[in-house]
């Protein structure tokens, strides 16, 4: 349970920031082309 909650918090943070950064990167690339 402890490991699952810690892993979920890290996955949410890395996933959230990573997904937003990826969206920004591809949005920027599509607007430039």
């Amino acid at each position: 349970m402890t490991e699952a909650l810690v892993a979920a918090s890290y996955l949410a943070t890395v996933g959230g920031v990573g997904a937003y950064a990826a969206w920004l990167y591809f949005r920027h690339r599509s607007l430039r082309n």
Binding site: T2, T13, V17, Y20, A21
Partner: protein, 236 residues
């Protein structure tokens, strides 16, 4: 390598360094491994405060100068603030579920005010999207951006103003309530997440500028409808 790739690489490296320190930090004797959640919860909460503060600065800048750059700063920072507030709520809830035995408590001042702040800034983004043109959106949202920032000190000091479930500040002027190794890991993560915020803020502002250059200026509903030209020949 272009500027966007440099910024994204910098953000990725900052995240990797932060996670390295977070996972190597000693765990708390009482909380156990749950204390590791603090190394992502505290930086995301800090960035929520910083982002909404920058939104207020951008809003004030727009009201004084009326230039697009200030409005883009406010809009980009508000979007990042919503993202980091959501992450702070999620990670805080997961920590609470393990340590307090409850994932959420509306009676807790810190949780309730943070949730309120989240919804107010979601409303800020909705207000921007609902406005008919960029200048109207900037004019309306700048007022909300300036007024809504009062929530930042309210959320921060809520643990002192109302005694409830959430603990008080861990880093105070008279010292920190944690060992140096844990404090260093937390401060490294605060610095790393701040680098991520700055990198994403610059990229988001760049995307907003490109959107303004490529997308046509939105017009009010019905503006495209032309009145009939009476008296003009049908085959003209």
């Amino acid at each position: 390598m272009n500027r966007i790739r440099v910024l994204m690489t910098l953000a990725g490296l900052a995240l990797a360094v932060g996670l390295f320190f977070a996972l190597r930090a000693p765990i708390d004797a009482f909380q156990g491994a749950y204390s590791r959640i603090m190394h992502v919860h505290v930086p995301t909460a800090w960035l929520a405060f910083l982002a909404f503060g920058v939104t207020a600065v951008g809003s004030i800048g727009w009201r004084l100068r009326k230039t697009r750059r200030w409005d883009r700063l406010a809009a980009a920072s508000a979007e990042l603030g919503v993202l980091f507030t959501a992450l702070a709520l999620i990670t805080g809830s997961l920590w609470g579920g393990g340590v307090w035995g409850t994932y959420w408590d509306w009676g807790d001042a810190r949780m309730a005010t943070t949730a309120l702040m989240f919804f107010v800034y979601v409303g800020y983004l909705a207000l921007r999207g609902a406005s008919p043109d960029r200048e109207t959106a900037a004019a309306r949202s700048s007022i909300l951006g300036i007024v809504a920032v009062v929530q930042v000190p309210l959320v921060y000091f809520s643990v002192n103003l109302f005694r409830s479930l959430h603990q008080g500040q861990s880093i105070r002027p008279d010292g920190a309530t944690m060992p140096t190794e844990m404090l260093v890991a937390m401060l490294v993560n605060v610095a790393a997440f701040t680098v991520i915020y700055i990198a994403l803020l610059i990229v988001r502002m760049s995307v907003l500028k490109l959107e303004e250059q490529t997308a046509p200026v939105p017009t009010a509903a019905g503006a495209a409808v032309q009145p009939p030209q009476l008296g003009k020949a049908l085959d003209d």
